[in-house]
C-alpha cells in the first residue's frame, strides 16, 4: 500500500503529517517512510535510525565520441530538451538539461553518443524498530529531481513487500517531481491550510491528481485559521476531508525542536487516527 503525501502549496505540513503518521503506524506494525523531496529532504530531522544501507545513485548522460560522428544532426533533432546542440562541426551536451531518455544515443546511426553514468545523489536507508526510513538526496548543483525520485521509488518497490504500508513525503508544487512522486501511489493525501493561498494551490493539486486519475483525500492543517472556503470547496466537490489538524503554537514549538507532535497533543493524535483508519479501510482495486 503506497500513500503519498503531497500539497500544492509548500509549508502546509507534508513532513509533519508524513513523520507523525509514520510513527503512529509504527506503534502497531511495520511501516516504510520515504522522503521523495530529494532537493531538500527533511523527514530525517524527525525520524532517526540506524543506517543500514547507502547507495550512490547515477543517471545516464550521453557522451560525444567525436571520431565516429558524421554530424548528421539526428541527435539534436530527436532531443526534446535541447540537451544536445550541434554547432557546425562540434556537438555540445548539456547534462543538466538531459532527461536520460536515451533517444539521441539509441537513434545515432554511428553509435557516437554512448550513455555514461554520472553521479546525481545518494540514497540512505535507516531502521528504527518498526520504521524503515529511506532518504534520497540530490548532490549540490544537480538540477533534476525526477531521475532520483524514480530510482528511489524503484528501490522501495523492490525492497519491501506490496502489503507493507509505505508513506511517501512528496515535494511541493504540481510539476514533474510531484508527478513522479505520486504516479505510482495507491492513494494521495493532499494537505493544505485553510487560507486563500492554501485553497488556490489545493485546486491546482486536485486538478493534477484528477489528470493522473488518482484517488485522493484532503487533510486540513492549522485548522482554525483563515476561513471556511477549503471545507466548502471540498464538500461542494465531493472530496473527502480525512482530518482537520487544529492550529496550535505547541506544534510549531515541537516541530522547531525536531520532535513529533502527536505524542504530545491528544487532539492531533485523534485526527491522525482518523487518517490511519481511512487508509486501512481503503479498497485498493488492483
Amino acid at each position: 500500500m503506497k500513500i503519498a503525501i503531497a500539497s500544492g502549496k509548500g509549508g502546509t505540513g507534508k513532513t509533519t503529517l508524513s513523520t507523525n503518521l509514520t510513527a503512529l503506524f509504527a506503534e502497531t506494525e511495520n511501516v516504510v517512510l520515504t522522503d521523495l523531496d530529494v532537493e531538500e529532504p527533511n523527514s530525517g530531522l524527525f525520524i532517526q535510525g540506524e543506517l543500514v544501507k547507502e547507495e550512490i545513485k547515477y543517471k545516464m548522460i550521453p557522451k560525444w565520441e567525436e571520431d565516429a560522428c558524421t554530424l548528421c544532426g539526428e541527435c539534436q533533432k530527436n532531443c526534446n530538451f535541447h540537451a544536445v546542440i550541434q554547432l557546425g562541426s562540434q556537438l555540445l551536451v548539456f547534462p543538466e538539461l538531459c532527461h536520460s531518455c536515451f533517444a539521441c544515443s539509441e537513434l545515432c546511426p554511428t553509435s557516437s553518443l554512448p550513455m555514461i553514468p554520472q553521479r546525481m545523489g545518494s540514497l540512505k536507508q535507516f531502521k528504527n524498530k518498526n520504521i524503515s526510513f529511506i532518504e534520497s538526496r540530490l548532490d549540490i548543483g544537480q538540477e533534476q529531481a525526477v531521475p532520483l525520485i524514480a530510482q528511489t521509488n524503484d528501490y522501495v518497490g523492490k525492497t519491501f513487500s506490496r502489503e507493507t504500508i509505505k508513506i511517501f513525503d512528496a515535494p511541493p508544487g504540481t510539476s514533474c517531481p510531484v508527478i513522479e512522486a505520486t504516479k505510482d501511489a495507491d492513494f494521495i493525501i493532499l494537505i493544505t491550510e485553510p487560507t486563500p493561498f492554501g485553497l488556490y494551490d489545493l485546486k491546482l493539486a486536485i486538478e493534477t491528481m484528477k489528470e493522473l486519475k488518482k484517488d485522493f483525500g484532503v487533510v486540513i492543517n492549522r485548522y482554525g485559521i483563515g476561513n471556511d472556503d477549503v471545507v466548502d470547496y471540498c464538500e461542494k466537490n465531493d472530496i473527502p476531508i480525512l482530518a482537520k489538524i487544529p492550529n496550535s503554537r505547541k506544534v510549531a514549538e515541537l516541530y522547531s525542536r525536531g520532535e513529533l507532535v502527536y505524542t504530545e497533543i491528544p487532539e492531533i493524535k485523534d485526527e491522525l487516527q482518523k487518517i490511519r483508519n481511512y487508509i486501512l479501510n481503503l479498497k485498493i482495486s488492483n
Binding site: 540537451a83 554547432l87 555540445l92
Partner: protein, 112 residues
C-alpha cells in the same frame, strides 16, 4: 559584421526584447551589406526546457558575430554562444533596436 538583436518586432524601430532564450524575434543587421534579416523565434514558447541553447544555436546558424540583448543569456546559452564565437552585449532591453545599435557603437553597452 553581423549583429543580432533580441526584439519584439522586425524593424529598426521595433522594441528590443529583454529576454534572450525566449525572445520573440531575432533581428540580424549585416553592416557591410546594410541589410536586415529576421527570424521568428515565437515557437520557443512551446519548449519547456533548453530555450537558451536552442536560441543560441539559431544565432550561430544566422551567422551572427555579435549579440545585443537585455538581461543576458543564462549559463547553458552562454556556453553555446562562447563556443559559437558570438560576443554578447547586454543592457539594451528597454531600447528600440536603432537606439541599441547606437549604444553599442558608442561603447555604451556592457560586454557579457
Amino acid at each position: 559584421m553581423k549583429i543580432a538583436f533580441t526584439t519584439k518586432g522586425t524593424e529598426w524601430n521595433s522594441e528590443m526584447d529583454p529576454r534572450f532564450g525566449r525572445t520573440e524575434f531575432i533581428l540580424v543587421y549585416d553592416e557591410e551589406k546594410d541589410e536586415f534579416n529576421s527570424f521568428d523565434n515565437r515557437d520557443i514558447e512551446n519548449e519547456a526546457h533548453g530555450a537558451g541553447p536552442k536560441t543560441s544555436q539559431q544565432l550561430f546558424e544566422l551567422g551572427a558575430e555579435v549579440l545585443i540583448t537585455g538581461n543576458g543569456p543564462g549559463g547553458n546559452a552562454a556556453t553555446v554562444l562562447q563556443k559559437a564565437g558570438v560576443k554578447s552585449f547586454i543592457g539594451a532591453g528597454e531600447m528600440k533596436v536603432k537606439e541599441a545599435y547606437e549604444a553599442f557603437k558608442n561603447n555604451k553597452l556592457k560586454e557579457f
